[in-house]
Symmetry: C2
């Protein structure tokens, strides 16, 4: 099995009540790959400028992350994002953004990746997600993320994308916006009508909800973390743990999807415990499995 | 076993995106008793004025709710509340309030109730909760609710109350305010240090969290309800289902507490499906048990 991710690589500056992390490594495909690599090899597609201070080969050293799809684009610059979180971590504000290379043509999917069976299209313009997806020959399971700006401004492209993906992984506010429906259960039903057979709604510290066409449903609280230093990357880590586990088991039946959501939840709980990737690079698969067992214990009755 | 509740009886007017319910029956002890009566007999303590248009004997007809503790106070008036909910049901606004009889002396706990073993003190001034509790001789398990105004303005009385109750059932915003702590796990720990051996935090559509001294914890999502017409009374119904189940099993070990939280969650999910008490009066215990089984299925992995 093979897992392909397309997404961003960023130079992030993040302020939270616990501190400031200046010019640290971020980006959706970076968090996703780090999370997924606990479970399965990852094929990475993304683009940076020559200004990028991070050696991704070193960042992923010892992990099975194939960087053949990393393009260093001359005469361009790496994506930059500066954001800050409120005291209660509920609100995130973007203080500064430089799209740079993300505003240009997307990277190519390398020839060697085109047979990938599992694909995650991290958030970007739906037209670009479609362009990336068209380069994959015959995927078994495609998941995508999106965000409010595309729902508002690029709805036609997004509708086309939704007809081509198996799974949409989206946060609760975006789900309500996309479905034009306040009730999350009904919003999920309306999104399933738009094309995906599975929708997974992330609710931050309120957990997540999985809905499958035909009416199957799964709801799970977030792991109750006493230590939350930086929520950046939680959603992409969730997706990475989830997709990584699905590839590892090689099945997308409902039981596998439920456990995948639980693994995503756990991996995200480690991400938010520290700045940038430190919460993920400091743990082992055994830590993830241990916390999954704890989550099982504290949620079953 | 015997379950005593002290709380309000109200004439409510409620506006939600689904309609308006004018001068309907409400109040914490009413919702609590209706919910708890699915599990166990209830001893009801509350006070109304002669203006109250509801015959509570008729409201609770066929249910084992003892109204010996219902006082009709001459020359006073029944509590009135008018509130409205935002489109997404997330925000509730009090448009109008007449405390009336609630601003006077609390009702007496009848002699015949003073041997009650399980007690729920619904939200009111902590000094009144203490005064009511002092009339119960030797309870086994006392739970209380409170709200932001008492935390802000009556903190000394509240601290005295917390040393005398076994369990605080409180919403997430109030828990953070009481503990002066944004993180809910740490907030729960700080509240346990104030006296109760159990704290149960209600998070509305995000579910609930149960923490017990010694570190035991349980987290549960809300039942994913597609039908939410009026959230009024959800918290008191939750407490009613929870306490009712505890009395029914006659144990307060951690497994019983977990199942009690699940029953509270389910009863509340029926309350919010319709205005006033209609969501509870239209169902049977079998409906509650059926939905509990569904909740178990959709949360276990």
């Amino acid at each position: 099995m093979s897992l392909l991710v397309t997404g961003s690589i960023g130079i992030d500056t993040v302020k939270t009540p616990y501190g400031v992390s200046v010019d640290c490594l971020g980006g959706s495909s970076v968090y996703f790959s780090m999370a997924a690599s606990f479970f399965t090899p990852v094929r990475f597609v993304g683009v940076i400028g020559p200004d990028c201070p991070f050696d991704l080969a070193q960042v992923f050293a010892g992990r099975d992350v194939d960087l053949k799809g990393l393009e260093v684009r001359e005469k361009s610059k790496t994506f930059r994002w500066t954001g800050s979180y409120s005291d209660n971590m509920d609100d995130r504000r973007t203080d500064y953004i430089e799209l740079n290379v993300l505003a240009e043509a997307p990277p190519e999917v390398p020839e060697a990746y085109r047979d990938s069976k599992y694909v995650f299209l991290a958030n970007t313009a739906p037209a670009l997600q479609l362009q990336l997806l068209e380069q994959v020959q015959n995927p078994d399971f495609v998941a995508a993320d999106t965000m409010d700006c595309w729902i508002k401004d690029d709805f036609e492209d997004l509708k086309r994308l939704l007809k081509k993906v198996d799974c949409l992984i989206i946060n609760d506010g975006e789900a309500k916006l996309l479905a034009d429906e306040h009730n999350l259960v009904r919003a999920a039903e309306k999104i399933l009508d738009m094309g995906p057979t599975v929708v997974i709604i992330k609710k931050g510290e309120s957990g997540s909800m999985l809905c499958k066409e035909g009416g199957e449903m799964f709801v799970l609280p977030a792991y109750p973390a006493a230590e939350v230093k930086d929520p950046t990357g939680a959603g992409d880590s969730f997706a990475g743990g989830l997709m990584g586990y699905l590839v590892q088991v090689g099945r997308i039946d409902f039981d596998s999807l439920k456990t995948a959501v639980a693994y995503g939840t756990i991996v995200a709980s480690f991400t938010i415990a520290d700045f940038s990737l430190a919460g993920l690079t400091s743990i082992s698969k055994a830590d993830i499995d241990g916390r999954l067992e704890t989550l099982r214990q504290i949620t079953h009755f």
